[in-house]
Amino acid sequence: MASTKMKIKKSAEGGHDVMVLAKHPMETGLRKDKKTGEKIPAHFIKTMEFALNGTAVAQADLGTGVSTNPLISIHLANSKSGDTITVSWVDNMGESDSAEKTVS
């Protein structure tokens, strides 16, 4: 499902920058539905885990202060061509998604 997209860019400092765009409303729980007047429940990504060749290397912790359709990026110094980078996230409602890419 193309709702979590990953881009890998070679970094000038060596290693790679991994950028992840996740399609997610990141609702704060404070916004009201214009039609019903009811508060739209909080719905946001909590943790996003990055793994290099199957081993977890970093975890991003997100909250309602992160933008809708969050773009999260990290730098990996030890990545090299042929490596597999996986990102997987879980939200406060138990929903999850992941994406995987091979470093070119």
């Binding site: 193309a2 709702s3 950028m19 399609k23 359709n69």
Partner: protein
């Protein structure tokens, strides 16, 4: 510029109806383009015609916020939606065909005057006409969501192509005349015309915002607008934006894909002659 100011006066006075719109020649339209573009190139020295494809982001007064926009454009939020639109474009109808089989004109030539019907074709209209012709349900909301991303998908295939709307037919010239009048006529409780903000005050501020130049309007559309995204409906076509702007001068907005906004879109698109397409885009 004097001629454009005269137009402003004339359009303001001639509010009595369509019959007040005078016949315009192809030569006059060419001269309008030259004057309009010349005005903005003079007002913003250092900008080339191509720069205006970025909309308000092209203006020096917007430089600080442009830096923010550029970072976001590196990996825009609408990418997953654009992937979705690409899939929808080739998804088969019940009869086996798909939107990819529709007979559409090149993206940089819209709106297109149809001599047979006397009507103006927009991409939105053509998509719905094609759906109808193939026995599929038309898209009801022509300003947002699915329609906007489909238009963005189609138009993006022509990115880099320069705007080239055909105004050689007298029927097209009538649409142009109507659109030009709408652009320069004052309306609403605030009694502003499009030109008041986007010509005479382009580059100036409206509270925290900067008024975009009229030159380049629509070249980046449909857009994914943060302000709309915060309310849950991020995509918008140019007619959606027109509606918002009309409401803002406290006038009743015209109908999306109705005659007025199609005429306005035609006028603005003709004024954009030569500017390369850059679709879609992010706006605040």
């Amino acid at each position: 510029m004097k001629r454009l100011l005269m137009l402003s006066l004339a359009a303001g006075i001639a509010m009595t109806g369509a019959s007040a719109v005078q016949a315009i020649s192809e030569a006059e339209i060419s001269k309008d383009i030259e004057e309009f573009q010349g005005f903005f190139l003079k007002r913003f020295p250092g900008l080339t015609l191509d720069d205006f494809q970025d909309g308000v982001n092209a203006l020096p007064q917007y430089a600080a916020r442009r830096a923010n926009w550029e970072i976001n454009m590196d990996f825009p939020q609408y990418e997953p939606e654009m992937d979705k639109a690409a899939t929808e474009w080739s998804a088969p109808f019940a009869n086996g065909k798909s939107l990819a089989d529709c007979d559409l004109a090149p993206g940089n030539t819209y709106p297109v005057f149809d001599a047979a019907s006397g009507d103006l074709r927009t991409i939105e209209g053509d998509i719905n006409a094609c759906l109808k012709a193939n026995g599929e349900e038309v898209i009801k909301n022509v300003k947002r969501g699915k329609m906007a991303r489909l238009v963005a998908h189609y138009k993006s295939q022509f990115n880099g192509e320069r705007m080239a709307v055909d105004y050689s037919d007298p029927g097209a010239q009538d649409w142009y005349a109507k659109g030009r009048q709408i652009y320069w006529a004052k309306r609403g409780q605030l009694n502003f015309s499009c030109a008041d903000c986007h010509v005479h005050n382009s580059g100036n501020s409206v509270r925290g915002d900067v008024l975009s130049a009229g030159l380049g309007h629509g070249v980046g559309f449909p857009v994914w607008r943060t302000k709309w995204q915060v309310a849950g409906k991020p995509w918008g076509t140019i007619h959606r934006r027109y509606g918002g702007c009309t409401s803002q001068v406290r006038a009743h907005p015209f109908k999306a894909q109705g005659e007025e906004y199609k005429a306005l879109e035609f006028y603005e698109s003709v004024m954009n002659t030569g500017i390369p397409l850059k679709v879609p885009s992010l706006r605040q």
